[in-house]
């Protein structure tokens, strides 16, 4: 076993999880390699520190509860204030919104109503216009002359 291969087994060796054959070869290599011995010590101490930390019972600082309670109470006050602002605004906003909607609806209806009246008026005026034209046409002198000419011609033709 060389150093490169041995470096794959430090973790399992420390945790006694190597099979017998590999463990033997690993041990032989360690006995002859000071560099890998040093690495193994580093691994052992690092991994053993995990066990040591499990046995410790670290505690938070003395004022932790008061500091945390203070933050929570500040957040509670903030959220109560926002709730109050929201409820006041919501009432006002809903009245304003309803008024706006009513005015807007009134304007839209008004526009629609007026535009339909204009259409009818313009239809009448175009009909009147054509009647006027017909009247004008029918009373124009030329038409009279033509009419009488036609009558005369007919009369002439009939003659």
């Amino acid at each position: 076993m060389d150093c490169k291969k041995a470096s794959n087994y430090f973790f399992d060796f420390v945790e006694h999880q190597l099979n017998e054959h590999i463990e033997k070869n690993f041990q032989y290599h360690l006995d002859e390699c000071p560099s890998c011995q040093s690495k193994l010590v580093f691994f052992k101490n690092t991994l053993n520190s995990i066990d040591a930390s499990r046995d410790r019972n670290p505690e938070v600082s003395f004022h932790f509860t008061e500091k945390t309670l203070f933050r929570i109470e500040s957040l509670q006050r903030e959220s109560t204030l926002w709730q109050w602002i929201y409820s006041v605004l919501f009432r006002k906003v809903s009245v304003i919104t309803a008024s706006f909607v009513a005015v807007f609806a009134g304007i839209v209806l008004g526009i629609l109503f007026n535009s339909s009246k204009i259409d009818n008026t313009s239809q009448l005026s175009s009909a009147e216009q054509s009647l006027e034209e017909v009247y004008m046409a029918s009373t124009s002198e030329d038409y009279m002359i033509q009419f009488f000419d036609n009558q005369y011609f007919i009369e002439d033709g009939n003659k």
């Binding site: 193994l40 580093f42 690092t46 995990i50 930390s53 938070v60 945390t68 929570i72 957040l75």
Partner: protein, 189 residues
Amino acid sequence: MPNENILVEGLKSGNREAWRSFIDEYKDKIFRTALSYIPFEDEAEDLAQEIFIEVFQNIHRFRQEASLSTWVYRITVNKAINYLKKNRKYHSTKPIEEYLVTEPEVSFSAQDAATPLQQKESRKIIQQAITSLPDRQAVVFIMHKFEGKSYKEISEILDISLSAVESLMHRAKTSLQDKLLSLYRQYHK
């Protein structure tokens, strides 16, 4: 759990005494869990406080399907993972000297047991190595090695299969091995 129900009702209604009692009961547990993820005690304490704030902001969503301690533990793990993600670049590129209390020339001897100071350094070294792991590997490794949870407990908490836990653990050990060797070369240059 009638006591827990009363406590939860008190927390939801914002009762000061309920919150004080809850913080006093959970502060050290949360702190120790946070310390498993973060090598610095002041940062772990800040994280513990953030976890209580998170609980306060979300207690109205707690439906008591799991126990209060399981729910709080899940919030703790999630906050710790978010912390690792945010601070991974910062912590993993910190030179190892910043983690050491003693001079690098102090070496561990195979014969001597590590002193408490050396243990503290070693813990910081392993925690620096852990910050370089992908999140799920880091969480599984910490839960198993630092908190002593079984693979079965881990699979229940994280809601993943047992084989997934075993696979994550195996990959974590391989990655950590490489990382520790690289830290060793740094430490002993």
